[in-house]
């Protein structure tokens, strides 16, 4: 009797486990499918594994970029000892009025596998065209800041950063 009971428990346990296992797999498979769609699509719009030229072409459509060295202040260390945390700040001297303001500030790291790091979208209410962020750098290379003004003008500055230990892994 006791043996029977044990056996049925064992058998029951196995079936229950297998059923749960199947459910678990289904659940895991289903969840990312439903959730990932908008998130991944949005991420793909900006960041992709590509060369910096391809990335700039995709984002800016080959529009001409002016040299913005007089207007854009790109602050980044010359030597980044730890590539996984590199503080960057970008300041554009431009009025921030509803008719003339800086619409986007892009930070681009040329040598990263995903070169477009971030795009900041500003409203005139920001009062000043300033953004800061911590970024990753895979290896020594140029870092650019691109400012897009409300009339569509693109301004660019770049600066080389030496990276001692890369921060992008594999």
């Amino acid at each position: 009797m006791a043996k029977d009971h044990l056996q049925s428990c064992g058998a029951g346990g196995v079936t229950r486990r297998s059923v749960l296992g199947t459910l678990g797999v289904l659940g895991v498979a289903a969840a990312p499918g439903t959730l990932a769609a908008p998130g991944l699509a949005a991420a793909q719009a900006l960041g992709a594994q590509e060369t910096v030229d391809a990335g700039l072409k995709r984002v800016f459509g080959g529009r001409a970029m002016k040299d913005g060295s007089g207007l854009i202040k790109l602050e980044i260390p010359l030597i980044a000892e730890n590539g996984s945390v590199v503080p960057v700040s970008v300041e554009v001297s431009s009025p921030m009025t509803p008719t003339n303001y800086v619409k986007h500030i892009y930070i681009v790291a040329d040598k990263n596998r995903i070169p477009i790091v971030t795009r900041a979208s500003l409203a005139p209410e920001a009062g000043q065209a300033y953004v800061g962020a911590n970024i990753r750098l895979g290896e020594t290379g140029d870092v650019r800041a691109v400012a897009e003004q409300s009339d569509g003008t693109l301004l660019q500055v770049k600066r080389e950063v030496k990276v001692t230990v890369g921060g992008c892994g594999g």
Binding site: P32, L35, A36, P38, G39, L40, A42, A43, A45, L46, G47, Q49, S84, V85, V86, P87, S89, M96, A109, N112, R113, I114, P115, I116, V117, T118, R119, A120, S121, L122, A123, E125, A126, G127, Q128, Y130, V131, G132, A133, N134, I135, R136, G167, C168, G169, G170
Partner: protein
């Protein structure tokens, strides 16, 4: 792990009406990087990282960031806004799991 989504917002202690205020924000988040196997092939899985950051002041969008995996772990963002009226400054982070994390600061004039 349990700290994921902790948001810190830092504003200057005294703000006057009309000031352009610099705000610093930090969120605890892994910002997973793309992993590769021994052959250098990308491991196909869902990476958890922040794709969007939005900042609103008095309910109006001031700044937003679209971010990629090239942004550091526990990302830090700095931005400015023009303080006109007392009210809430709200920052929201969205990651690829669909989760959102929020931080608010009350803007008061002294």
């Amino acid at each position: 792990m349990s700290d994921i989504g902790k948001v810190r917002l830092r504003i200057p202690s005294s703000i006057k009406p009309g000031d352009v205020v610099k705000v610093r924000s930090l969120i605890i988040h892994p910002m997973e990087r793309i992993e590769r196997d021994a052959q250098g092939k990308i491991i196909d899985k869902k990476y958890n990282y922040i794709t969007k950051v939005t900042v609103t002041y008095l309910g109006k969008a001031v700044v937003s960031f679209d971010t990629t995996q090239s942004v550091s772990e526990n990302p830090f963002f700095a931005f400015t806004f023009k303080a006109t009226d007392p009210g809430p400054l709200r920052i929201t982070f969205h990651d690829t799991t669909g989760a959102t994390y929020e931080g608010t600061a009350d803007i008061k004039f002294s």
